[in-house]
């Protein structure tokens, strides 16, 4: 029988073991495990690799723990500019979005670009409008608020430093 499988990541960075408390590590691992387990079930039942990829990423986007979707970091202006992309290996079909705000699941928007347009990459406010036109979930500013991320932004503002979001003091991976 042909092999099948899924791998996922939640970002790479420089947080030290000392700063990764046991409960925080457990929280991250539990969310990662849920994401790849759900996606694996889709594959096991004969589902497509693109559906499994989107399913896993939606679970991670919906968690405040990771820098995507709900847990996205703040820009210099205090907004959220999210990017996402999907690609199928069979016919090299691809869809991507850049600098979109308020879209709950940017990966679903990237997939909509791939399946509903002749484009590969769209960006900015018009991409957010495109999401509304295709009935994708749009969330409020409050939905994207996270105390930790907010403080991270305030600290970066003071140093006026652009940083990967899981650097040392960030305690999270990029």
């Amino acid at each position: 029988m042909k092999a099948y499988g899924i791998a996922i990541h939640g970002g790479a960075g420089t947080v030290s073991r000392a700063k990764m408390t046991k409960w925080k590590a457990e929280a991250y691992k539990e969310t990662l495990k849920r994401a790849y387990s759900m996606a694996y079930q889709t594959l096991h039942k004969g589902g497509s690799s693109i559906d499994a990829v989107i399913e896993a990423i939606v679970i991670l986007e919906d968690s405040y723990l990771f820098n995507a979707g709900k847990g996205s970091v703040y820009t210099h202006l205090g907004t959220h500019e999210m990017d996402a992309a999907v690609m199928e290996g069979k016919k090299l079909k691809a869809g991507a979005v850049a600098s979109v705000g308020y879209v709950k699941n940017p990966i679903k928007l990237a997939h909509t670009v791939m399946t509903k347009t002749k484009h590969v990459l769209i960006s900015g406010e018009q991409a957010t409008e495109f999401a509304k036109d295709h009935n994708l979930e749009i969330e409020s500013k409050e939905y994207f608020y996270d105390e930790f991320r907010y403080k991270q932004w305030q600290k970066a503002l003071m140093n006026d430093k652009v940083q990967l979001d899981h650097d040392e003091d960030g305690q999270k991976f990029g």
Binding site: A12, K29, Y36, L43, L60, A68, M82, E88, G89, Q163
Partner: protein, 134 residues
Amino acid sequence: TVGAVALDKKGNLASGTSTGGMVNKKYGRIGDTPLIGIGTYANNDSCAISCTGHGEFFIRAAVAYDISARMMYNKQSLQEASNEVIHKELPALGGRGGLIGIDKHGHIVMPFNTKGMYRGLKSSKNEEFVGIFE
């Protein structure tokens, strides 16, 4: 940044990546995530790749397509190609980060040159793993 790569029962590969970008980002800066062939790539003839890390370096090294091309034209394995890019090419530019990849045989790689990378996998070969550090 989060990402996933998958191989299904029909032998099709797929890749996806999603990110909130960088803290305190200005000027409309965009990283590697939405750039096909750089942060996200899939080709049934080689592999599916999703990257995370300092996007500017991944863009300059055209990471995801580079790994696919090494496999297709240089006959490198996914393991060889991804290790070379993550542990030699990128650091030579000063780039930090990691990636996940899967090939058409279901081999999975998760190399990174930072202290840690949130990652996990499950395959029909009874492989399962979740980790943060080395």
